[in-house]
Amino acid sequence: MHNQRTVGDGLRLLTRAVVHVVLGGTALLATATVVSFLGPTLALDLSTPPVAAWWTVFTAVAVQGVPFLLLGTVVSAAIGAFVPQRVLTRLLPRNQALAVPAAAAAGVVLPGCECASVPVASSLMRRGVAPAAALAFLLSAPAINPVVLVATSIAFPGQPRMVLARLLASLGTAVVMGWLWARFGRDDRLRPPRPTGDSRATGPRAFVTGLQHDFLHAGGFLVLGAAAAATFNIAVPRSVLDVFTGSAWTAVPLLALLAVVLCVCSEADAFVAASLSAFPATARLAFMVVGPMVDLKLIALQAGTFGKSFALRFSSATWLVALSSSVLVGWWLL
């Protein structure tokens, strides 16, 4: 009886596979034919310089993001599937005021750029970490990990104060935002990260389902962010910047805004900041503090994970806090 069923199942699976292959093959063949006919015309359209540059920047941001996003989702799915809820809650101090700085400092351990931190923060929340602490981690991880700090010291040779200033200002922003959320934040604003499938499921199978879901979900938003970044990259002429270099009052907010629209990944932003040599040091610091915490790509990722209204509010608050903390630290250290 049982044997018969497995044979039947096998046959059914085989038929289904054959049907899929035939249908898929036909579809692929049809697409290939159409593309090879239309390709040259399309390619002509694509080859106007601005459009081609848009596509290049767009795919570049997406290609660059994929390995980091995958790393982030692997870590996040592993936390979801293999780390028991109790471990995480026990690791962090129960008092939220203390848990926030601890979580922010823990950001040192995730070597990656900002794409990786959103899924990890979301799975931390899913596993019962207080949102305030998870958000502090979300903000600090891409900004203060060793890879980023080393890149910063290479970009600013002979200026260790810049590295220190970046570390302090970023950590400060993350902690302040965590505390602000603990005090004023309303967790109902934060759409609870949806459990993928069954939140109680653990083990390899939950890992695979969680990974697949998280990667696809975050990947879609990464593409959205990449499109926005490419659009601004092509649409905003850099010469606009030169108008504002003179006064610190305009230069600092301007570079902080530029960080939002350019979406340079946190491992590279120090080099971009170094090349903006006409700007005062504090403005360049603001560029490096804001970039990993607020940019279009991140807003898209956060909107997808935590909800649109949360992402907008949280990002604008973070932008203001990051700006003030870079001004303070810059005034003190630089």
């Binding site: 596509w55 795919t59 570049a60 499938g197 696809l216 879609g220 959205l224 491992e267």
Partner: protein
């Protein structure tokens, strides 16, 4: 198709990552060389993941696997626990937003976008590498010595040791044009991905200007200009002995 959307998407993205890294140097148009192993690993992992989920899924439709059916219901977002299914349109194929991934994946598989070139270089005011004036390490031996445009520029503007004096250098870049018949040898420098490209350029004297965007290798000597570290020293000038048209190098950008 809906059922297998997730696995198909994963395989598509994985295939795109492998196509640009394993078969040629296309990835260098978008990211830095150092990212290659990670891209290959991601490509393989994504395809494996796609296949695994497809297999798991086809097993869960087995009628006696109740657990599996529940999983799919949950993902379908039909007001499960807590009822926060709003705005989260998940079919069993996975999140709908994920279909956006087909855009870059198909672009890479079918028409890989070209490397950034003279258009981007022209839009962006060429940046000076920010450095203080100081003595640079000695230039490597060789006549002519191969230099990147960025290295040439920073030595020309900031080197108090004047290490370029009396040396013949060779550099490769594409041509861009300035006002009044001047032309520049130009190259973009990429740190992480093409979105952070910055421009280096060197004015070329003594050779006729090739059309904009042509890749050339120029050999010549440094023509000192302006004071050390001053604005007048920029852009640096090269007295060209020869300019030879070449094919676009496999890595179109300079790296740090």
């Amino acid at each position: 198709m809906r059922r297998h959307g997730g696995p198909v998407l994963l395989c598509l993205v994985g295939a795109a990552a492998l196509r640009i890294t394993l078969f040629g140097d296309l990835y260098l148009r978008y990211v830095q060389a150092a990212l290659r192993p990670y891209l290959i690993a991601s490509g393989i992992a994504l395809i494996l993941l796609g296949v695994t989920t497809a297999v798991l899924r086809s097993r869960t439709t087995d009628p006696d696997d109740e657990q599996g059916e529940d999983d799919e219901e949950g993902e379908g977002g039909h007001g499960d626990e807590g009822g926060h299914g709003h705005h989260h349109n998940h079919g069993p194929a996975g999140p709908r937003i994920a279909w956006l991934l087909t855009l870059p994946a198909l672009a890479l598989l079918l028409f890989p976008p070209p490397a950034l070139g003279s258009y981007s270089a022209g839009r962006e005011a060429a940046q000076r590498a920010a450095q203080g004036v100081g003595a640079f390490p000695a230039l490597p031996a060789g006549n002519p010595v191969e230099l990147t445009l960025a290295a040439f520029s920073s030595r020309a503007i900031y080197d108090s040791g004047r290490s370029l004096t009396g040396r013949t250098v060779r550099m490769t870049g594409f041509a861009t044009h300035g006002s009044g018949g001047t032309w520049y040898l130009t190259r973009l420098m990429v740190t992480c991905c093409a979105a952070d490209a910055t421009t280096s350029k060197v004015e070329i004297r003594g050779e006729d200007a090739p059309p904009t965007g042509t890749w050339v290798t120029v050999t010549g000597t440094w023509h000192p200009k302006g004071g050390l570290g001053s604005d007048a020293a920029w852009p640096p000038v090269l007295d060209a002995g020869s300019a030879k048209t070449v094919r676009q190098p496999s890595d179109p950008y300079e790296t740090r």
